[in-house]
Amino acid sequence: MNRQKLQRVLVTSASSVLAIIVALVICAVILLITGKDPVKAYSTLFGAAGETKVLQGMLNRATPLMISAAAVAIGFKMNLFNIGVEGQMRVALLSTAVIGGAVNLPAPLHIAFCFVVAMATGALWSGIAGWLKVKRNVNEVISTIMLNFIALSVVAWSFDTFFRLDKEGESTSLLVKTKDLPRSAWFPDLVDRRLNGMLIVAIVILILFWVLVWKTKFGFQLRASGANSGAARATGVNPKRMIFISMLISGALAGLVGMRALMGDVHAYQNNLAEQQGFNGIAVALLGRNHPVGIFFSALLFGFLGEASGRLQLEDIPKEIVTIMTGIIVLAVVIINEAVKRWDDRRIQRRAAAMVEAAS
């Protein structure tokens, strides 16, 4: 029994581990071709793992990735590909900065209020895609990509027109922001200015995600709809309802992605805030195989690579090699995963047949 479980864990993580190895090898080749020393590059990169400062930065960067990967993964469980986390996050960022900044509440309440605003606006934005899918059968990939563009433009425009705060004599500065959030809405740091407490929130979200998907009736119906919508429908699970609800949950989580940057770091909205963190969640979810444990470690890896990449420049190695590595990991995990699944399916089938044979 335990052996079976262990085997399953090994098989599931095998493709991710293999993908990372493949990416390291290919990047080493690229480094060699460009005349850099891969051994030096990797020892610089991974040598940074010993430093507390780097580790704190890794956790800080991993925080939003965990949340956005959870947002993507809940869609994947239902066979929905929510590419719109970035847009949903952006809408939630500006709304929370503006609405959260307009009220005054005691600290814990104020933080909770900001979370509610972020989740509601994120869900509102993803709900559009969900509604289009349910009512008009619009593919969510197309609609969420389009809604990303709309979100980016609308948010940038309304920020520029209504909410930007020009400081005296600084109006041409690139770093224009909204009004600062009141201190009661600041999310406390675990290590002052180094590690924000949103990490705890992200981990709680992953745990709740696990409970919801694997331990509840709703989660079972969600997975059943994703695995075979025909079978789920025949047992009375309403597929449209499941699509809409999972899009809402996905969007609500997407709304929280930017909160580490907003409430824990900058404390005001600016246009490049939390940029790309919604997209990066897709990569983390893929590498983490849509499982909370996998997502946790994948987020740590991506967080680490992002944090340590700066070191490479000191050695005159372009830090873009890390971006290349990330891209290769994502491609490789998709390909290898398919191959591993086929191999494992055959293995399971053969073993089941053999055991039945032996029993009779």
């Binding site: 331990k215 009736k217 989660g219 079972f220 059943a224 025909g230 047992t235 699970v237």
Partner: protein, 517 residues
């Protein structure tokens, strides 16, 4: 098999000692097949007997582990279908491989386009060659019409043209009549006989014995992965062939010393269901029926005459335009599906892969599907994994599902065991009414007998069953009354004590519409 027939060279196709093993499925072992040129040679066997594996071997889709393939006296190895095509073998698939938006000509020449000296497609040459083939076949198509404008029977004819265009002289047809209405079946055989008269050879895979006996020259029977008999329509009859197929006596579905009780469990009253396409005719037209406690009501009919919509309407998966559905006297016409299930309605779906199982999920999740409101298996919003697993083991034991454990994913089971699992799940919640669509389709004889026993046992305990089946023996043997569906309506009600498969067959084609007795 006669002695001189075994001499080499007398056969268009000869397979000797073919063995092919796969994990989990019945494959082939020691298969021998000899097909004379210029004949229609039938290969018959139950679903899962290994017919498809054999044909894939012959068409080069996989390689046998042992044995030899001889075509026109030359021993060959097929590494891919390309090799088989080069040897003159063509396959007409059960599911047509045509591109809807291309014309008939374009579909036929796809992959073998004749080219002019300037590198363009030579449509004139293509038309000339296809025209010649059409006159051989005795068909006439507007070659520039899109395939989407053709009916099923015509598409099949296009598939045959396509195979002939590639130079095939030996045609394999995989269950070609499964998708045809009776008139189209007749036309197909006219076409095939013309082909054979021109010197082609046809290998015809089927499990419809009447067709085989009426139209084929020779018959090879395959059972549990191996060829067990070679015979011809002159030497055998329907029953003899059926017994060869299942090996020994046919299991007997009958046993009707039952007591149908008075209480009506399911009542369908004059329901209409809209067709899928806009403006199309009704899929169900004024359908009424009653299922009482302890009764099995059989639905006979050629597939696609409203049986599926009837089950969907009773489950509440499609809306009814008119009429009502009630269970135990309570109108459930507007009750959500899940509540109908919780009220005691169960469903063995038409296609276990599409509607019955989560193939990648372990068996315990499969037996849990649809039973999320069972108090024993859940507490509040949460599932109780241990209880679910124990319940799954109980179902596996009770229904004799052959599996190492409940942790195995469903795809690892053979078709018969998957079906037993579905039947077991649907019976496990002690339903009051069971909609059973093809409950024994594609399962082996042992599993069939087990499923029949379960149905009979539950019926004796008061279960009402609506049985949809294409297996007429099953319908006649199990049912207390048989309704015939044709074109979305119930066209006849028959007493199974008097019905014969032949008689049902004539009702099913819609030629005869009996008064409801």
């Amino acid at each position: 098999m006669s002695e001189q027939a075994q001499a080499r060279g007398d056969f268009a196709v000869e397979l000797r000692g073919i063995t092919k093993t796969f994990p989990g499925v019945i494959a082939n072992h020691d298969v021998n097949l000899s097909v004379r040129p210029g004949t229609i040679h039938a290969i018959v066997g139950e679903n899962g007997a290994g017919k498809s594996t054999l044909m894939k071997t012959l068409y080069g889709m996989h390689q046998p582990d042992e044995g030899s393939i001889t075509v026109d006296g030359v021993t060959r190895t097929f590494r891919s279908p390309t090799d088989a095509i080069a040897a003159g073998i063509g396959m007409v698939h059960q599911h047509f491989m045509l591109a809807d938006n291309l014309t008939i000509t374009e579909n036929i020449i796809l992959g073998n386009e004749p080219v002019t000296s300037r590198g363009r497609i030579d449509f004139a040459a293509a038309h000339a060659r296809i025209g010649a083939l059409m006159s051989t076949l005795g068909v006439d198509f507007d070659l520039d019409a899109p395939v989407s404008s053709l009916g099923v029977g015509q598409r099949q004819r296009v598939e045959i043209l396509k195979v002939l265009y590639r130079g095939a002289r030996i045609l394999i047809l995989d269950e070609p009549t499964a998708v045809l209405v009776p008139q189209e079946v007749i036309e197909l055989f006219v076409t095939l006989k013309r082909l054979v008269a021109e010197g082609a050879t046809v290998i015809f895979i089927s499990h419809k014995l009447d067709e085989v006996l009426a139209n084929c020259d020779e018959i090879t029977v395959i059972r549990q992965g191996t060829t067990v008999a070679h015979t011809s329509p002159r030497e055998t009859d329907r029953r003899g062939l059926a017994e060869l197929m299942v090996g020994g006596d046919l299991p007997d579905p009958s046993g009707r010393d039952t007591h149908v009780r008075d209480s009506v469990l399911l009542e369908v009253a004059a329901i209409d269901v809209a067709g899928t396409a806009v403006g199309s005719k009704l899929a169900l037209d004024q359908v009424s029926l009653r299922v009482r406690s302890g009764e099995i009501v059989g639905i006979a009919g050629v597939e696609g005459n409203g049986q599926f919509e009837l089950c969907e309407a009773i489950l509440g998966l499609v809306p009814t335009v008119r009429g009502s559905v009630s269970m135990e006297g309570r109108d459930i016409s507007h009750t959500p599906t899940r509540e109908r299930i919780n009220a005691g309605l169960s469903y063995i779906p038409f296609d276990r892969h599409r509607e019955g199982l989560l193939l990648d999920a372990p068996l315990w999740e499969n037996t849990f599907l649809g039973r999320e409101d069972n108090r024993r298996l859940t507490s509040g919003l949460f599932t109780r994994r241990r209880a679910i697993e124990a319940d799954s083991r109980a179902i596996i034991d009770r229904f004799g599902v052959r599996t190492p454990s409940e942790q195995v994913p469903a795809f690892a089971l053979s078709g018969g065991n998957q079906q037993k699992l579905v039947v077991g799940r649907e019976m496990a919640s002690d339903p009051k009414v069971l909609l059973a669509a093809h409950p024994t389709r594609g399962v082996d004889v042992g599993a069939q007998a087990a499923i029949w026993d379960e149905l009979r046992h539950a019926r004796d305990n008061g279960l009402g069953v609506l049985l949809v089946s294409a297996d007429l023996e099953e319908l006649i043997g199990l049912s207390d009354t048989i309704l015939v569906m044709y074109d979305g309506r119930i066209t006849a009600q028959l007493d199974p004590a008097e019905a014969t498969p032949e008689m049902l067959g004539t009702y099913m084609t819609g030629e005869v519409q009996g008064a409801r007795s």
